[in-house]
Assembly symmetry: C2
Homo-oligomer: 263 residues x 2
């Protein structure tokens, strides 16, 4: 294994950071790695908001399902899918008028543009995470940033065609301490050949057997097995209902379906 | 710069590959790197389809906006957001019955779950791209895989709660040949501090000045500036209209709004 492969294989989500700031040089390395990431048509359909305001970090603990370590992370970056910059550039450059004069359709950002922006944002985020790891800086993704859309929109002054797809916390590993690396499902379950192979009894047995992957050591009522416990803890948990509501609200606004009281 | 940072900084999209297969060892390194990627709740909400069938690779040239190099790539991986595996596991484990008996809501995958699955899939994809690069294997993302949803669904037998978010081609760099690295917008445009800063005249001027980033050497009618040219080439081009239609169709099916003739 080369150094990069080792970096990819040894990284694990870090939620407790050394009490040591990230230097300006390290910060720039992390951001430069993000900026070097592949992007659709080289358009950079994303933005990064660096969160330096401690009060905002503390609000995020609350809006992101109580993950208290966010407030203690020396570097916190919010990755946005961003079609606003190009939309505004098009408008500024007179594209709607050009379309009008030449019988062309003026297409504003739709669902597909949201997805493309998310691609760019996430690919950039992962580059930053890997650069950080290579510098001895751990990181943790916070998917909960997709909850409470309206509050995040207000806090970060997000315009219509941006979408907060990932929050990432970064900090040095506490000296001599590294969380144990969690296992993964076997490759034959995740990697398919030529066509999608639906999970069968054998896969379900493996998933049930691999409960430790999800830290399920014992089953508690009303759950009677690993599937039920994971549902209660994840897809059926209050944060998932909130994320569902919030993402619907964000997409509605993106598509211009929002009630009038929101700009 | 350490070796990993160099790998991140020197990678560029590769669309012409050496006439040399990817070894089994290299293939496993690439897939293992994907599998090691961070994933929400360690649930691995993605699947990878390795496309080995030459006829399918050739179909993809057509369905992905005529990118002929897809057919010549020694390794082609399709990354899917995948909530199907967990959904089926939940059903198999009797979650709907448990919900019913305990007055809980049985929540099937929604938009938020699609987004979470896309996060996992893209983070895994980028890990694989970086591992490949560290082995001297170039790669190229094909966002056009989001077009022609119905055809891709049929080719890959995609069940309802999967979404093809990224296709990646991999192959060795042709000997002694490396495409020049394309520049990026300046960091101050992409990175914001604490709040989103909308692009202004100054940003638009920089974007117009940076036309070479998007290989705009001259402007052709009806475009009169870089913004208009990029709109015609990207957001207003036929492939973008197709992607818009296709993603709407995929999301409709995900949400169960599909017409009856599709399973």
């Amino acid at each position: 294994m080369n150094a990069t492969e080792k970096t990819l294989q040894t990284r694990t989500s870090l939620r407790r950071y050394a009490d040591r700031p990230i230097s300006e040089e390290e910060r720039l390395s992390i951001l430069s790695a993000a900026m070097a990431a592949p992007t659709a048509g080289n358009m950079m359909l994303y933005s990064i908001i660096e969160i330096t305001d401690q009060a905002v970090k503390e609000s995020l603990v609350e809006t992101c399902d109580g993950q208290s370590f966010i407030a203690k992370a020396p570097l916190v970056l919010l990755f946005l899918a961003d079609q606003q910059r190009w939309h505004d550039f098009f408008v500024h450059g007179g594209v709607p008028k050009m379309c009008d004069e030449h019988g062309l359709t003026w297409r504003e950002p739709e669902e597909s543009d949201l997805m493309l922006g998310c691609c760019d944002a996430l690919i950039a985020a992962q580059n930053s995470v890997i650069a950080a790891e290579s510098l001895g800086i751990g990181s943790c993704y916070i998917g909960d940033i997709m909850e409470n859309y309206e509050r995040h929109r207000d806090i970060f002054e997000l315009p219509r065609w941006t979408f907060p797809i990932a929050l990432v916390c970064y900090g040095h590993y506490p000296d001599g301490e590294r969380p144990p690396r969690r296992g993964r499902l076997p490759m034959e379950i995740v990697v398919h050949r030529d066509v999608y192979r639906k999970a069968d009894e054998k896969v379900f047995d493996i998933m049930e057997d691999h409960r430790r992957l999800w830290s399920i050591t014992k089953i508690g009522a009303p759950a009677e097995n690993g599937a039920q416990k994971m549902y209660l803890r994840k897809n059926g948990a209050p944060f998932s209902f909130e994320m569902s509501r919030s993402v619907k609200a964000a997409i509605s606004r993106w598509l211009g379906e929002e009630p009038k009281d929101h700009d």
